[in-house]
């Protein structure tokens, strides 16, 4: 088995890429709700 094969099986899909895929697939309206909530949360916490 080559080194390349081993690393692919061990690591699996990158969670950041998965999250980004889900974000890209989201409807624009939901993106707006999430962005708005995120901004509100950040300013409230900071």
């Amino acid at each position: 088995m080559s080194n390349e094969d081993t690393s692919n099986t061990a690591v699996g899909p990158n969670p950041l890429n998965l999250a980004f895929d889900r974000w890209t697939a989201l409807d624009r309206d939901w993106k707006a709700v999430i962005l708005g909530t995120l901004v509100l949360s950040v300013v409230l916490v900071s």
Binding site: L16, N17, F20, D21, T24, D27, R28, D29, W30, K31, A32, V33, L35, G36, T37, V39, L40, V43, L44
Partner: protein, 334 residues
Amino acid sequence: MIARNTARVAPGVAVLVAGAAVAHVLSTVVGVNRLILAVGLGVVVANSVGTPEWAEDGLATHKLWLETGIVLMGARIAVDQLLSVRLSLLVLVVGFLGFSLLFVELVARNVFEIPDRLGSLLAAGYSICGVSAIVAVSSGVRAKSEQIAYAVATILLFDAVTLAVYPTIGRLLDLSDIVFGVWSGISMVSTGPVVAAGFAYSEQAGQWATITKLGRNVFIGVVAVLYAVYYARRDSDDASAAASWRSLWEQFPTFVLGFVAVAAVASAGLIPSAIVSLLERGYQWLFLVAFVGLGTSIEIRNLRNTGVQPLLVVLASLLTVSGLSLLASLLVFG
């Protein structure tokens, strides 16, 4: 992949932000409202040098910034004031929505004798929320692609015209903020131009215009389902498939829920006033960025593709609905 997608969108977003900054600086020099300048800047660039291909994906994000701005605007809404007029506002919104739908349908079919499906696209587009409504009802109406193109071009033309004309008429008639906001929210076409015209008039007018317009937008699902049922029955298909709760929900503008949630949190006193001011500055900048993109989406060359009859149908409807809703807004809120 993240880097590739970010690189695809970032240049256009940077153009939007740069345009917003230019509009902001220019407004302090020439004394013209910065929101109008932002739209104007976008129109001038798109129709002179054109928008470069590398910026197109980023420029297309302008509706996301508008909707995010509207969600944040929930923090600034005077909920108590809104609740005190909720019944009158609701009656006006629903009444004029129904009237506009019927008026456009009747004028399109009986006066200008344009095809039923094109008339329905124009009716949904004019009475609810412009291009989004046309797209939402197009499959239920089973419209041809050239009919969709005609309807979209007609609605975009009226978006551009009303955005320029409404604030001018408002100033000439010296309308109060609430009357101008409710009037433009009821009788203008798409959400972007309504918000732009409202905030160009005043902060308060912008808030009333947005709330009124959101009130219209939430009916998009109902109208899309009604049209789907009507055309399915007329074409002798299975109407029950078209009228599902799922299709109602799919058409619902969900960002309105975000706006309502933020307004509820703010009205419960959970957001300190300093934060509300910060959020206000935030959504004003988001609107500015969005309006540069709105301007770049107005291509005058494409607007020439409207047919004369669809144009006359919407013109007749706009003049009637605008006149009547102005009178009604003056009577109720004047």
